[in-house]
Symmetry: none
Subunit: 195 residues, 4 copies
DNA sequence: CATGAATGAGTTTTCATTCAT
DNA sequence: TATGAATGAAAACTCATTCAT
């Protein structure tokens, strides 16, 4: 019973399933069949929609980044002060959703995928550039060298985030945010824009 | 063709080859045959000496950590001031050797392996604990909360390091060190130990 | 090339092929590829349907036992006298089909498999129990100790059967039956039920 | 430190080890290394002494048959009556040594080996011929058709013996002997030699 | 005599992918 | 659109066997 307009639903289901499977497994070594089964369809159909496993993984990655982007945009709603802007970015990175072990593991594996797939690399580069320019927009009115400030905080976010993938002695989401915010404060105080 | 005492040589060759192969591929999905070929022997011999691919990968990881540990120990020679101590740790993390793309890629993949292998997780935990206690030893005379300071700098090191795995717009080793040292300075100035 | 409902056909073909291959080789050391080739498919498909070589061998064994069971049931049709009943059981054991060298060799190897596989052991135990209770049902009206009688004839059947696996100076199927029937007669005459 | 006269010791050790390993494993699928390790030497040496795994297995088989033959010869010492002679043969087959699970499993596997190896087949044929002629020598003065009698008892011995390989609901050694002796008695009584 | 070193050939098993229906 | 059927290719791992020492 073919249905009309199934395509976007199927694709979405597969992407969701892929993220969950990768997160559970902690590896990109999940089979297309596993993903398809979780998404409630045959692996053949998964191929029909994505052409190849790689493209499916890329789509999954794109999805995570899209969600993250949306979260950031939502957090920047209203008319935040520069500092609130920075804080919002940090909070988004460690939001309940993004801080789930499965998502962290998936994210980590996308770094690995980026070693092989140009498309994946491109996506991660975009994520990084966006984060960077968002942070810079926040820092510009506050410090003299907003580029360095953004680079530092960006790297710190990634570092704290990736460390979570080891589960043990992990930081709580809130602690992670505090740690980073403290760095933000220090940066601003140490290099105030004296205009 | 020496016929005795080959084991340590073979194991070393395999570990070296594994790191290089993983680095080149950017994945743990390298075959034992590839590794063995690079090490100049048959895959059967690789299995003979390591029992399984996993144990070989763990050995490779252990090797990287050992080398890193040695580098750190060497850097801490002499009678460094606390600040020099911290700087030495940071410099070691971004030494020419450790900052090679292959080593970075291998390191990244060990994070992935840690998702599955308890032994790998254990090794990474050890690395982290050592780095932490070394940093703390440096920070203790300088700041009031050496734990937070170490946690921050540790995460920053990891973040900067992992970001290199994307090769594009990468920081030079020296820039990485400067960036982190600036954070160290700020931490010390913001939270001086007033003894 | 039918495309649906292939599973039972494929499984049956594989089971048949497995029995033949094992019989020809005289060993369980036949490769899945050999079996699959004889069954006209790839070894991958064989794994797809059976999950593992072991499960395929167990299925083969189950098949042989099922056929044997059917043969016995057929032989017990009608309203046989107790003696006819016993004779039918013996004849079934040495029927043309069961007395083929391939089947004998396969059967022998299942004894070996039972040393390792609990499932195989279970199946052989079932076969033995059935044979025993069938024999006992025949002997009960005829002798005073039907248990011993059944145990003796059961062991004799197995002994004559297994000896065939050595092919040389083998007994013909008919001779085997006569030999065992003579024992049956002696047992009945020596220990008549004097009701 | 080469030693003189080691050969027979080494060979004996290997043969013993092979029987034990096969018995434990319940299969001929034991590795030469396992056997050699148990015999306290390298697998290379095992090859040196036997040329191939097969020849080693044949030697193991020959050893079992030799031991069995010795046991029989010992049992036939003195001046036994014909009936004692038969009884001695049966008892030897189920002696404590021969009735160990390991020996039974090894024996069973030699039947399998005989499917492939002509030498193994030859050895089993010899065993059978000897048993047959020994039994016949016992039966000749007692029954009119000693050939059939021997064939029957021989098959019964093999049947009872092989059935033990399934361990469950096994007969004790003594019960096995009684069961078979009862058959002997019946045969003699049913077909007395009336000279 | 004895062995550690070494490997070729093979085996089970897995999986992405294709295709007929 | 959807899938069961099917497979080629590869991977990890094993093992009997050889050989230099």
């Amino acid at each position: 019973m073919p249905k009309i307009g199934m395509e976007p639903l199927r694709r979405a289901a597969l992407v969701e399933a892929a993220i969950i499977e990768i997160g559970h497994a902690g590896t990109l070594d999940v089979t297309v069949s596993q993903i398809a089964r979780r998404a409630g369809m045959s692996s053949a159909l998964a191929h029909h929609y994505f052409g190849s496993k790689d493209q499916m993984l890329v789509a999954a990655m794109r999805h995570i980044l899209t969600l993250f982007g949306a979260e950031v945009r939502a957090a920047l709603q209203g008319n935040p002060t520069p500092l609130q802007r920075i804080e919002a970015l940090i909070r988004a990175s460690f939001s309940t959703r993004n801080f789930q072990p499965e998502i962290i593991a998936a994210w980590l594996n996308f770094y690995v995928q980026a070693q092989t797939s140009a498309e994946a690399r491109r996506l991660l580069a975009i994520y990084r550039k966006r984060l960077h320019s968002n942070l810079r927009a926040g820092f510009r009115p506050l410090v003299r060298d907003p580029d360095i400030a953004s680079e530092t905080i960006g790297a710190l976010i990634d570092g704290v985030y990736i460390r979570q993938s080891l589960h043990d002695d992990a930081l709580a989401g809130g602690d992670a945010v505090s740690l980073i915010l403290a760095s933000v404060t220090r940066i601003i105080e140490a290099d105030p824009r004296t205009s």
